[in-house]
């Protein structure tokens, strides 16, 4: 008790700095997003209209669903480049099914997409977790296998809007409780992810395996199973997103979502998910998703940006955000080290 008066003033700044480090990265991202919104709004006042905002949210919803899956995979130290092809495959299968059986209930279509996605994810996951192929190679290879499979089952043809029943398209256009279905699904997925990752045994295992696979194994966690499960989750969410995608754009094509994984990985990395695994937050992923969604939505709105410079700007913003994130993290780590009083 006698030592408390002297130790109290020392402890306070330490706690303060810890709070600042803990929330700083998300705050920086939030400020970045706010600045971006202001800049875009100033150059085109059509940005913050109710119509465009709802457009932005529905577009971002699909990215959000996928980002959660990718977050789980990256958390275990992996990567999944096959999700674009997964979206195309599930989207095509479900679209063909719906076109052949127009009376199919939309909910069953979504469950079908989920199931197919899970199977595809399980294949990639088995290659990574059981056969120990490096994630990038396994998913890159399977990406092309899935993509070829889409081509085979569709014969290279599209399933277009007039072949799809209204009930199916309503998955994306309709709303439940005054909220657009897509946005609702994204919010539900985010909430479940937040709960599972922070408060359940399975969720903590993903963190454990990602931050130190050996330590996790020694403490009795089956790393292989957790890794496999991560890809299954990713596959399932990609399958779900495939159905949402097809319902939203009312067309299924063999080249649907080609190269889309870059957006998703970028959303995660910008959101502060460490690509080496073991760290990251759902909140960060949400913000990263919002940033990517805003970039995608806002670039066509700015008249001075030509259609052809869009991808350059997109790439530069991703690169810039990744580098900025690293710089901020370095500073945070440095501060944490400095505050330690060794």
């Amino acid at each position: 008790m006698t030592s408390t008066p002297t130790s109290a003033p020392q402890r306070r700044p330490e706690i303060l700095s810890r709070i600042r480090i803990g929330s700083f990265r998300e705050l920086g991202l939030l400020l970045f997003i706010a600045a971006l919104i202001i800049i875009v709004q100033m150059s085109n006042s059509a940005f913050l209209t109710p119509k465009n905002v709802s457009n932005l949210l529905t577009n971002t919803a699909i990215i959000a669903v996928l980002s959660v899956g990718m977050f789980v995979v990256i958390l275990t130290g992996g990567i999944d480049l096959s999700i674009g092809a997964n979206i195309a495959f599930t989207g095509m299968v479900v679209a063909l099914h719906v076109a052949a059986a127009p009376t199919l209930h939309p909910l069953i279509a979504m469950l079908e997409g989920l199931a197919i996605g899970i199977i595809l994810g399980a294949i990639v996951g088995a290659l990574v977790a059981k056969v120990h192929v490096l994630p990038i190679i396994a998913s890159l290879g399977m990406c092309y296998v899935f993509r070829g499979a889409v081509f085979l089952i569709s014969g290279g043809k599209w399933v277009s809007a007039h072949q799809m029943p209204e009930g199916f398209k309503a998955i994306a256009t309709g709303s439940t409780l005054w909220i657009n279905n897509l946005v609702l699904i994204a919010v539900v997925v985010m909430l479940i992810a937040q709960y599972v990752l922070s408060s359940t045994r399975v969720g903590r295992r993903f963190y454990a395996v990602g931050s130190n696979a050996d330590a996790a194994r020694i403490s009795g966690i089956s790393g292989d199973r957790a890794v496999w499960l991560a890809y299954v989750v990713m596959g399932g969410l990609a399958g779900l997103a495939g159905v949402l995608w097809v319902a939203k754009f009312a067309s299924a094509q063999p080249d649907t979502a080609i190269g889309y994984e870059v957006n998703i990985i970028a959303a995660c990395v910008i959101g502060g998910v460490s690509i080496n695994g073991g760290s990251g937050k759902v909140v960060g992923v949400l913000l990263g998703t919002m940033l990517i969604g805003i970039i995608n939505n806002a670039l066509p709105l700015i008249s001075s940006v030509s259609e052809f410079s869009k991808s350059f700007i997109q790439g530069m913003i991703i690169l810039g955000a990744v580098l900025l994130n690293t710089a901020v993290k370095r500073r945070g780590d440095w501060r944490a080290l400095a505050a330690r009083h060794i």
Binding site: L140, V262, S309, I313
Partner: protein
């Protein structure tokens, strides 16, 4: 365990022993040669147009990727990866075409030099970021620069095509130097250079060392950053060489050329036995696998198999190449792991 247990590898005359050790050392390359033979057999059986006499011409269709595979081998050997190469090919090709055609225009040889410089600059930029931000994953950085480089190509040329090259330029991609195609001759010269660089020089040994253990290298005074930077710059330079030959073959260029080349190139390297974890693999294996992937695509292309399905085959091959050594029967081919006798286990 009885002490007089006989290692089967130790039996026989020195000649047999030597052959055995050679077999086990180059087992991957030997398997690749068998696959190459099987690929040829498959191609002969499925298409009447697949003939020995046409194979020299056929090399023009895939050896441009071979240039990239060689430098990618160095990058992957250090445990890195470069996904931006296809975009680098597109950008250097576009810059060359535009600088040749723009305004007064520069002479073609100078445009070609500009092409090489552009590629090297792209690679150097990747390398610089990866060296300065060493905690970033190479895949993330090169994924981003992939978008950026192709984005620049799009800004320069929009949706147009650029061509109108001098009449001698197509010879690079289609011409013959003596009996061999120009591209093939250039490929083999550069292959010898790269094989020498990797297997006979100090630099090559360092590449292996960095791939095995970066930290140990740093502590033993090896300039790891310089190796990585050089590798990426070389990779960009070779992407530009690919651009030279590809553009010559096509006669004109667009911002979307060389789409998904990185896939084929990485497949060639990994199938060639180079470990993506770094530090393991040889140039010879990559050489054979360049021909396997190339000839397979050529043969399947002859019977009008769709590009998407071709990609499917290459993708499957890529996964199999990495999966086979990891599977149980793979360990029989490669190395005998020391097995613990049942008595010790119990």
């Amino acid at each position: 365990m009885p002490m007089n247990a006989i290692d089967p590898r130790g039996v026989g005359s020195p000649l047999v022993k030597g052959a055995r050790s050679l077999l086990s050392r180059y087992s991957w390359e030997i398997m690749l040669l068998i696959i190459l033979a099987l690929t040829n057999a498959l191609n002969f059986s499925i298409s009447p147009y697949y003939k020995w006499g046409k194979l020299l011409d056929a090399t023009n269709l895939f050896l441009d990727k071979g240039f990239l595979a060689m430098s990618m081998t160095l990058v992957i050997l250090t445990g890195y990866i470069d996904i931006s190469v296809a975009s680098t090919v597109a950008l250097s090709s576009v810059v060359m075409a535009v600088s040749y055609n723009a305004g007064a225009g520069v002479p073609m040889p100078l445009a070609m030099v500009i092409c090489l410089l552009t590629g090297a600059a792209c690679g150097a930029f990747n390398g610089l970021i990866l060296v300065k931000f060493s905690e970033l994953a190479p895949m993330i950085v090169t994924l981003a620069t992939q978008i950026v480089y192709r984005g620049i190509a799009l800004i320069i040329l929009e949706d147009k095509a650029a061509g109108k090259f001098p009449s001698w330029y197509p010879n690079l991609g289609w011409g013959y130097a003596g009996v061999f195609p120009v591209m093939m001759a250039a490929f083999f010269i550069l292959f010898i250079v790269f094989a020498f660089l990797l297997h006979k020089t100090n630099y090559g040994r360092t590449v292996y060392a960095v791939g095995k253990n970066k930290l140990a290298c740093r502590f033993s005074g090896i300039n790891v950053d310089r190796i990585i930077f050089t590798n990426f710059t070389l990779n960009g330079l070779m992407a530009a060489v690919t651009a030279l030959f590809l553009t010559s073959r096509m006669g004109s260029t667009r911002p979307n050329v060389a789409n998904a080349y990185e896939m084929d190139v990485i497949a060639m390297v990994v199938l060639g036995g180079v470990s993506t974890a770094g530090g393991k693999g040889r140039m010879g294996g990559v050489l054979i696998s360049i021909f396997i992937v190339g000839l397979l695509r050529y043969g399947l292309g002859l019977i009008n198999i769709n590009t998407q399905v071709l990609m499917m085959v290459v993708g499957g091959l890529l996964v199999l190449a990495v999966a086979i050594p990891e599977m149980r029967f793979g360990s029989l081919i490669r190395t005998r792991k020391p097995t613990v006798p049942a008595s010790v286990k119990a």
